[in-house]
Symmetry: C2
Subunit: 339 residues, 2 copies
């Protein structure tokens, strides 16, 4: 066992856009395991948009990431040493180990480490379609949008780890799925590989009128449900095409370049169209995770639920890969492979 | 029986603010009753903000009021002639008779005319607290906001026909009720007579910062539910003080002076605060009216649910009274008394 653990710390807060200088790679010795502890070797780190919010100091729905500590994040790996009866060397596990090669876990803390079965589901999928992003998609689609067969569901960032699952779950429920994605390659993937009914390349539609016309063409019967990963002009355009009693699940909302809020231009459409908009954070609905993971796991194992991964190699690549994720340079779930 | 019926027609659509010239008073003869018809003499006309939307031509959630026809509106009156077995001369009835002295009703049409009991509830209340405005308040409060005891509910236009009921129903459920109203007289009424815990005079707070500070003082534990009759800056200020998992019932949303939409400045607060916003129109939820009217009728008959009326005299006063309502010159439910 390597006695040295490479870790990436957050060492400063971004002013405007984050840079690689906000992070620092350090090496620390790995102490011996105490009673009830387990040592996990990380195979994959998960990179997710929510991490951007944690880098800020200000109040949000989550505590800021403390400076000088290992950057937060989901991890998948294997047990390489154990002093806890529930975990054995070789067990595949997922947790919140952060941006580091190894994590020493106090396995008596409930829920901190979860054994997973990699017989039919690849380990990395537990950070994507069968993990937090998948459950996020499942929650917003089934608990907020709740589409009926024949309805139209729109999802932004449709090729991403969350959006791809939203559209496929909508299709599985008999709804029409329309994606928004950036660039022809992602749009082709969303339509052809993921089976969405249509995908709009938002880069081809820089203004509200153009985007609205594209939505009208892709959604001839209007929009009944919308899963919002982006906000801003996309949400404005969707609201203009929303049907009576439509539902919007708000999962991600960008801010302006300097962090100022981006307005919603016509909130009276919520009333005119009798819409329901709901913001949610999936970690606040843990009681539903088993039900969600049951469906997601079955769908992935059977090959019906498809997903794509962008994999950066080695811990040192994590900051650059994360900055790329924020700019949409990834294609599907962004991971860092450590082993 | 007077053979002449005075009626007010909508004769032109407003450009900007409506004026009395958009309306015209005409006299038409009253034809004889056909089989199954009932003649109703109106005692009260109801004036309501939704009528402003009907004056416009453009698409909204309701059909525009046709030009040259009797202006739409709720009415309460008495049967003065009947050729229908379910209605007898002297019956107190409510309907949608519009701005006219008499209405000939085809009583075989289901729901077009409803007999009401005026033993314990004044006839006019069936146009207010025990009518459409009361059910509007009941629906938004119980079906969307659904306050728990100890939570804080804010309502704009708190002295109005809808707002007054919202706050009192919230109090009856153990919640804290905070109103917004225009001017010290209305605020004193909301606090002292209606029993709200606080009322903010929004005219004293012309900017977001000032209004936010007033909301903070009136809602020291934040805002869990909000009933929005106005929109614009009030909604922005409420969202900044909203608690996690708060609910907003959207009942009314003003537009700018020239009809352009007023933006919501920080929609990302819906996500940050995991809020739920829902627009609704009470006429689309008829199945719940009996339950709502049961509670509202009991509360009014017992004297626990209070309300106030502004009564204009005579049909000819209806246009001026309606324009006053749009400017908040009424105090409580605006009625026109015809008899």
């Amino acid at each position: 066992m390597d006695p040295i653990n490479q870790q990436i710390l957050l060492v400063s807060r971004p002013e405007g856009e984050p840079t690689v200088d906000n992070f620092q790679l350090v090496e620390t010795p790995l102490p011996d395991l105490g009673e009830g502890q387990v040592l996990v070797r990380h195979h994959y780190l998960s990179l997710d948009p929510y991490m951007r919010g944690r880098m800020n100091e200000g109040r949000s729905y989550a505590q800021p990431q403390p400076l000088g500590e290992v950057m937060i994040g989901g991890t998948a790996g294997e047990v390489i040493a154990s002093r806890h009866p529930d975990f054995a060397v070789g067990d595949a596990v997922v947790g919140m180990g952060g941006w580091q090669q190894y994590q020493r876990v106090d396995a008596n803390q409930r829920g901190v480490l979860k054994k997973v079965d990699t017989t039919h589901i690849p380990l990395s999928a537990y950070l994507g379609a069968v993990g937090m992003p998948g459950v996020t998609a499942w929650y917003g689609l089934t608990q907020i949008i709740a589409p009926r067969a024949g309805e139209t569901v729109v999802v932004s960032a449709a090729s991403g780890a969350v959006g791809a699952v939203v559209g496929q779950l909508a299709k599985a429920r008999g709804a029409r799925a329309v994606g928004l994605a950036g660039g022809p390659e992602k749009c082709a993937y969303v339509s052809s590989e993921l089976g969405f009914d249509a995908c709009i390349d938002y880069r081809q539609h820089p203004d509200l009128k153009s985007l609205g016309a594209a939505l009208k063409a892709a959604c001839p019967n209007g929009i009944d449900g919308h899963f919002e990963n982006v906000g801003g002009m996309i949400l404005d355009a969707v609201m203009l095409r929303a049907n009576a009693f439509s539902r919007v699940a708000l999962c991600g909302m960008i801010a302006g370049y300097n962090g100022e809020p981006i307005p919603m231009h016509n909130p009276s459409l919520i009333l005119v169209n009798r819409m329901m908009l709901q913001g949610f954070i999936v970690s606040e609905h843990m009681a539903l995770w088993p039900q969600a993971l049951q469906e997601l796991g079955t769908e992935v194992a059977s090959g019906r639920l498809k997903y794509r991964e962008t994999v950066a190699q080695g811990l040192a690549s994590a900051p650059e890969a994360f900055l790329g994720l924020l700019k949409g340079r990834n294609f599907g779930k962004q991971l860092v492979k450590l082993v």
